[in-house]
């Protein structure tokens, strides 16, 4: 793999946009075959199977203790109606909306801010590479481990924050109490996600030729104005994509609250929709209801993600050219 052809950027850009070449017979299909086969086996089939399961249920007869007392039968849409009318369902949906309203703007705002600051500090490579690595570091920490670490930092008796505030005579709020727990969970996600999004935005910023700013600087524009009028519009497409991926991650929040759950009274088994799926499947052993809720979450994810892209009119997700 020693051969690296570095093409002048201008060539890459102009050629890449050209129409793709015509496939000859089965060639593209042959290239796609392994991917499609694996996709079918490990993604499509399980999803179809989940859809099937969501329409089934187990019927027990009598005491349900002998063998053969359990049979699987068609359930129609009863799993769906049961899931959606569960008194815990709507609160978990509202909670996830509130959570998303905290996480997505704060995380992307921080990511954008840090990316702009890195860009502004380009002349100081030591500082900017230290900061870049430090901020990106949490991406290396699995969500389960990250939640555990933050859990230690939240609990009053083992937290250095509480200790430090106490020294100043301030009573720290109990971060896992009902009024704070949403922020406590959101913080773990923000901590873990900011660095990655920052890198995405920073990459977009770096591809902008500096000559573009120079003229603005000569015209006397402040750094803030340059950031606001030139840099942010340039990274807008990247922001849109990070928004979509953050939105998906928000809807799927699971590892953080399930890890923090045993530490507090305030995180219930149905704290987020995906936790409800987990509870039904793994705690209540009712994979049928879990499958029904899964289908609902999957459909909602599609609608939101594609709907958003349609709304902003970007075609990053669709075929280019």
């Amino acid at each position: 793999m020693a051969l690296t052809t570095t093409l002048p950027r201008s060539t890459t850009a102009s050629v890449a946009a050209r129409p793709a070449r015509k496939g000859r017979g089965g060639v593209p299909y042959a290239f796609l075959a392994p991917g499609l086969l694996l996709f079918t086996l490990f993604l499509a089939a399980p999803i179809v199977y989940a859809g099937y399961l969501s329409l089934r249920k187990v019927k027990v007869s009598g005491l349900g203790l002998g063998s053969k007392s359990r049979t699987e039968v068609w359930a129609g849409l009863s799993n769906y109606s049961r899931s959606m009318t569960d008194p815990d369902w709507l609160p978990s949906v509202y909670r996830i909306i509130g959570y998303g309203l905290i996480v997505v703007p704060v995380m992307l705002g921080l990511a954008l801010l840090m990316a702009l600051l890195l860009d502004a500090n380009r002349t100081r490579p030591a500082l900017s590479s230290f900061a870049r690595i430090a901020i990106f570091l949490p991406y290396a920490v699995p969500a389960v481990v990250a939640s555990l670490l933050w859990g230690f930092l939240y609990l009053p008796r083992v937290s250095p924050f509480v200790y430090a505030l106490d020294k100043f005579g301030i009573t720290a709020p109990e971060l896992l109490s009902s009024s704070w727990v949403l922020y406590a969970v959101a913080n773990v996600a923000i901590w873990g996600g900011t660095g990655f999004n920052m890198i995405v935005i920073y990459t977009a910023l770096k591809s902008v030729p500096t000559s573009l700013y120079e003229s603005a600087r000569i015209d006397g524009a402040s750094e803030l104005a340059i950031a606001w009028r030139i840099k942010i519009p340039i990274v807008m497409p990247s922001l849109v994509m990070t928004f979509v991926f953050s939105l998906i991650a928000t809807l799927q929040v699971f590892a953080e609250p399930i890890t923090l759950k045993p530490l507090s009274n305030t995180i219930s088994f149905t704290w987020t929709p995906l936790m409800k799926v987990y509870r039904d499947a793994f705690v209540r052993n009712d994979i049928y209801s879990a499958a029904a809720t899964s289908v609902v979450i999957a459909v909602a994810t599609f609608i939101l993600s594609f709907g958003f892209l349609k709304l902003v009119g970007r075609r990053a997700f669709t075929q280019e050219d």
């Binding site: 051969l3 052809t5 890459t12 890449a16 129409p19 793709a20 070449r21 015509k22 000859r24 060639v27 299909y29 042959a30 290239f31 392994p34 991917g35 996709f39 490990f42 399980p46 989940a50 890195l118 502004a120 500090n121 100081r124 900061a131 690595i133 901020i135 570091l137 991406y139 290396a140 920490v141 699995p142 969500a143 389960v144 481990v145 555990l148 670490l149 230690f152 930092l153 900011t194 660095g195 890198i199 920073y202 990459t203 591809s207 402040s222 990247s238 849109v240 994509m241 990070t242 998906i248 590892a255 995906l274 799926v277 499958a291 994810t301 599609f302 993600s305 970007r314 990053a316 075929q319």
Partner: protein, 285 residues
Amino acid sequence: MTTIPVVVKKRRTSTTATMLLLLGAAYCLLPVIWVVIASSKSAGELFSTFTLTPSTHLFDNLADLSGYRDGLYWRWMLNTALYAGVGASVSTLVSAMSGYALAKFDFPGKGFVFNVILAGVLVPGVILAIPQYLLLAKIGLTNTYWAVLLPSFISPYGIYLARIFAAAAVPTEILEASRIDGAGDWRTFARVVMPMMRTGLVTVFLFQFVAIWNNFMLPYIMLGNDKLYPLTVGLNGLLNQGANQPSMYTAVVTGALVSIVPLVALFLTLQRYWQVDLAAGGVKA
């Protein structure tokens, strides 16, 4: 001179900028610093001394961790490396082939295939885990290395990225030239396309590597034998020992620290590949 005020202003902005950057770095490093310090404490100290005071028991803790059930922790580490290494390698190759086909060919059903794969990006792993288990159980593969590896060979996100990279990095002219030279499609792919996509493929590899390294749900469901566990599942087991066992916090904290070391090393050595432009498409080397 009229430039003086500009220079002064610039310096002030940049001091603020530096402060803010360092603040951000501190926020991100704090829990990591905490885990380093906590790993140096004995079990008693972990719950009695001030949390940011380091102690001297790091090596004792590492020895204890290594001694846990005849070095099971290191087996978990090897398993994780195997899952992430093999899984990400195969997944990268599969993604490269699919991404290349989607970016550089026109064929009936292309739009459909791409949209279906995109939809796959949106499906959460927790939802897939049970049906995947039930299906793999039908062919008797649960509780084996394959149960974790096979599902990780496919990454819709990897295909999505590979398509972006292929579109940006592989000029159609070169493909035409290669064809005129009489090279077959596979030869072209291996000798021309793959090298051109190299930077992008390393990024795909890293993405998938991190995703598998950090995965919890799939191995948690698939594996019953703790000799096959990856780190995440193993650490979770140390933490949740059931009501009549104390949680092994010292081992968990030390294990958590050790578990992130390889990934951090990977980040530091390969940092130039962590430059992803999701929207415009392309990795700037």
